[in-house]
Symmetry: C2
DNA sequence: GGAATGCTTCGACTACGATCGAAGTATGGA
DNA sequence: TCCATACTTCGATCGTAGTCGAAGCATTCC
């Protein structure tokens, strides 16, 4: 009853480099086939089969079959949140000093985390919505205010569709690089999709990096203002 | 650079029943000796030595020596938060149905999580402070307002001492049983200590259960009011 | 239907890690 | 100083889990 079995169970699932690699590969929020994941993790198909079965039965991945293809994705946002948390744990000053290269700066600036915006820009989005009172913490939950709903509709977000889905509208997700929350949930995902439609950002197919265009970054900064 | 090694590293640490048991035993926030942890986990001293060394070098536990005694505690609140998150993951409807007995209800009602109040009562505390504007979410951080500071001083919390420490004042900690945030940080810990001083609650030395006295629960409910 | 491709199953191998008996070191108290 | 206790080290054992070659099943396409 004390949660020990669950901790050990999930810890075991995570505590293998091949499986961890598969999970982080799926952090962008899309689904990949078993073969793609095998290649990404650098193992044979049979090894991948074994690992993926464990992750699926363990509740960390979902499976969708299309003919001979099996598409795996992270089971839910909670799994993504857990992975971001683990990435950040003990990611203290020493580890940060070992991070080099522009790619890591790009990841810090803006990256995709289960289809929503993370990194500095994700934090900015979250903070701006709170500062402008579009979002408030009500009864311990992030809630979209009336003015926030108006804002989102003007911005092109179909709130009716979002509310119709079972998925929570607003959730907080602890950001790995920034150690603060960014906006997750169906709203967070819808916003990132809208940024893409507006051509403000592009997603890198081979990584989680999100690249802002010059115009996009300016527009984003004008739309989502923070105190600093 | 993608966090995979950290995930696997920590997953490996957590993915052993003995170590998981040790970690959950330390969730109350106190320090225990190596021998106590060995007994709690049901292993010999030599096995415990090996595990504890791993947990310490892995950054999950801290060590303080007192003569021949070695006291281990969770390294920080982030570790406690991670453990609560893992306890809750996949703790879905099916698992809830298997939970039986008064003890589990007691854990849900009020329990200690790294020295702060968790469970229903922890949620109530958090929500009440937000509803009364004693706490607000400012720049993505939980912040104590001026009126909140006044309230705390009247309630008997030494805010000067709390601010003098390096520890964050307010932090959110995702609650295992309730799937919402309760108040962590040095303020959360100070509040629980005050509840004890006021004899509102008692801690069970052998578990994480916190028991409210009749008077204590009434006083708590009157002091920390929520919308429902 | 046959070939190609995606994925699975089987079985063997090997590395690894938890465990504890035995022995040792360090500390505290009488 | 001696004894008791807390903890550590060493080495051996054994169970487990990741891995892949070989073979097989399922799907798709020409």
């Amino acid at each position: 009853m004390d949660g020990t079995p669950n901790i050990a169970r999930i810890g075991t699932l995570l505590g293998d480099n091949t499986r961890a690699r598969m999970l982080t590969t799926l952090m962008h929020g899309k689904a990949l086939t078993a073969s793609e994941l095998a290649r990404e993790a650098g193992v044979t198909a049979q090894t991948a089969t074994s690992h993926l079965a464990k992750l699926q039965s363990g509740g960390l991945l979902t499976l969708r079959k299309q003919g001979r293809h099996k598409y795996f994705a992270l089971a839910n946002e909670e799994v993504a949140t857990l992975l971001e948390t683990l990435m950040g744990l003990s990611n203290d000053d020493r580890s940060l000093e070992t991070l080099t290269g522009p790619r890591d700066a790009a990841m810090r600036h803006a990256r995709v985390c289960y289809n929503h915006l993370a990194g500095n820009k994700g934090i900015q989005l979250h903070d701006s919505l709170l500062a402008s009172k579009a979002l408030v913490l009500s009864n311990g939950n992030l809630t979209l205010t009336d003015s926030g709903q108006s804002f989102m509709q003007e911005f092109g977000i179909d709130l009716q569709a979002l509310k119709a889905s079972r998925s929570p509208l607003c959730r907080e997700c602890l950001d790995w690089s920034e150690r603060r929350s960014h906006l997750a949930g169906s709203l967070g995902r819808a916003l990132l999709a809208q940024f893409e439609r507006l051509k403000w950002v592009k997603r890198d197919p081979g990584s989680r990096v999100i690249t802002f265009s010059t115009k996009g970054e300016r527009a984003f900064n004008q739309t989502f203002v923070t105190a600093e």
